[in-house]
């Protein structure tokens, strides 16, 4: 395994005249799960597109190891990092097995055709995502959760050390969200895969990521261990809301409770001088 640290150096990204990500520096910790969080339009998906070289930087560069990704051959990049975008198009008439097999593309060329090893990699990708039983089903027939696992299987078939996922849990119900994120964790722990994912849900991000990057207005506001990053102040800075952040010491569980203009339904005003928190919970900061 070659060392292939992904790093953004003074990266500015945007479309046309508009600049969305400004002068951003980021080093993705190797072999860890990094989650990028932030409000809508903060540039988190744009950053992911820039890191995966889908978007040419306006300024600065993206380095993979000691090489600029925009100067590397396309297929070589595709053998080092895989990307699952937010809205892939579900093709008609294609079975799960065939779709996952398409992930082998960067390993093929004019002289290098399909081999038994490819079959093994596809079988493994299906197994890891628990979709082996779906192999002969058509992708269009699957439920949302199954589809998402199949797409992940396809990018896993690329066999890369780096995995970039853009909102892998959007449109999934809570059970499927947990399933997908558990899988991400497994990949990181069992295989040392470096994962960078954009997530909507702050609590999920804090729970599953080793490293949290909080963005706002195209800049990194806070970065580091979720435990240090997720505080009422940062959440306020990043999302512009007031909230209560609860960490449960014994289990490491986190909850972020947004405090809007309304009280919880049925809450009697007079008793709300101090919020009642169960004794085993401790408020940090």
């Amino acid at each position: 395994m070659t060392t292939s640290v992904l790093r953004a150096e003074r990266l500015s990204l945007g479309y046309g005249e508009q600049t969305i990500v400004h002068d951003l520096d980021l080093t993705v910790p190797e072999g860890k799960v990094t989650a990028i969080v932030g409000p809508n339009g903060c540039g988190k998906s744009t950053l992911l597109r820039g890191l995966s070289r889908l978007l040419r930087p306006k300024d600065g560069r993206v380095m993979l190891g000691d090489r600029d990704v925009h100067r590397m051959p396309t297929k070589q990049v595709a053998r080092s990092m895989a990307l699952l975008p937010q809205h892939p198009v579900v093709p008609e008439g294609i079975t799960v097995g065939e779709l996952v097999a398409r992930g082998r593309h960067p390993h093929h060329g004019l002289l290098r055709q399909w081999t038994r090893e490819d079959d093994e990699v596809v079988a493994e990708a299906l197994e890891l995502t628990a979709t082996t039983h779906l192999v002969s089903r058509e992708v269009t027939e699957l439920s949302g959760g199954q589809r998402q696992r199949v797409w992940i299987a396809m990018v896993l078939a690329q066999r890369t050390d780096l995995l970039l996922l853009d909102e892998p849990t959007s449109f999934l119900d809570i059970a499927h969200q947990v399933e997908v994120l558990d899988l991400v964790r497994d990949l990181s722990v069992d295989r040392g895969t470096t994962v960078v994912m954009v997530l909507h849900d702050l609590a999920m991000a804090a729970r599953y990521a080793d490293h949290l990057v909080a963005m706002r207005g195209g800049r990194v506001i806070a970065e580091g261990n979720p435990r240090e990053v997720v505080t009422a102040e940062t959440v306020c800075d990043v999302f512009g809301i007031t909230c209560r952040v609860l960490w449960q010491e014994a289990t490491g569980d986190l909850s972020v409770i947004p405090l809007g203009r309304h009280r919880p339904v049925g809450h009697v005003l007079g008793t709300a001088g101090t919020p009642r928190i169960a004794p085993e919970l401790e408020v940090i900061r």
Binding site: L83, H87, P88, P91, G97, H105, V135, S136
Partner: protein, 363 residues
Amino acid sequence: MTVNAPAADTGTETPHLVETVPDRVAEVRRSRSHARRRGHLVLGGLLVAWLLAMVVRTLLGDFTITVPDFWRIVLGTGEVPGGAEFILLDSKLPRAVVGTLAGVALGASGATFQLMARNPLASPDVLGLTMGASAAAVFTLVILGGSGAAVTLAALVGSALVAVALLTLSASRPGSAPTRMILVGIALSAMLTSVVHWVLLRADIYRAHEAMVWLTGSLNGVTWRQIGLLGVVVALALPLLLATARELHLVELGDDLAAGVGAPPGIVRARALLLVVLLVAATTSVCGPIAFVAFLSGPIARRLLGGRASIGAAALVGAVIVVLADHAGAYAVPEVNLPVGVVTGVVGAPFLLWLLTRERSSS
């Protein structure tokens, strides 16, 4: 005993693990080859259909040629009475061959466009490529008085210009390339149609009529030299197009996904468009714009394959359509020789409507 127990455990565990993994690999292989089998069956069936169409086109009609006579004429091994040789070599056979080449070129181009634009109804005729070739060819034919190679070259330049316009005007914003490509193509097509009308209005009546016949799309009077030219273009461009199919099938999954898996959509589209330009320009310069073939071959092939897109199957569908439509045009109405473009237009439009209604009810 306590020492033996774990050893016995691992003894039974290890072979079990080794056994299951190849088992799953075999399942993946089986599934893939099963999925391919339908594709092979459809391709085989289409090949048979094309052969039958060729037999019908070359041997049947007002003048029936027997199979032994066919070989005698083609191989030159014996005399066949009654002008059969002239009819076969100067009319039936060249038309069947050019029909095949034109059908293959148009069918493959249509399927390529549908993959590129991720839209089952995109095709070089809808997106102005055919119109570009037609406008340039008619301009050369009528205004400049050119013919032969000049017209072919003009058709090539015309459709190439449309392709460049399609690429540059649709690539300006990320993520929207397919939709913009379709809108830009429709606009260009409308503009070029008015160019054709303008040219026809300026021409004297005889030349205008000549151009009109060409514009309907006809296999009539095609020479072996023209067939040779079209044959060379198809023989070069089609294998290259089939080779890009794998990357086009990645573009089918979305631009970002394709780029991530090592098939940059812009480059894949440009490469495929270049080949389509060659095929469409060569076909149009030889037989004029034959309506609906590029448009319909892809969706028909898709239907046969259970929804999957295939450039090869669409090419064969195109060949079958053109050869049979030409036969129908020649013999369906006694004493009237309808150009192939009229037949494909008349049959194609209702078929398209039928496809659209079926598409809606199935999804």
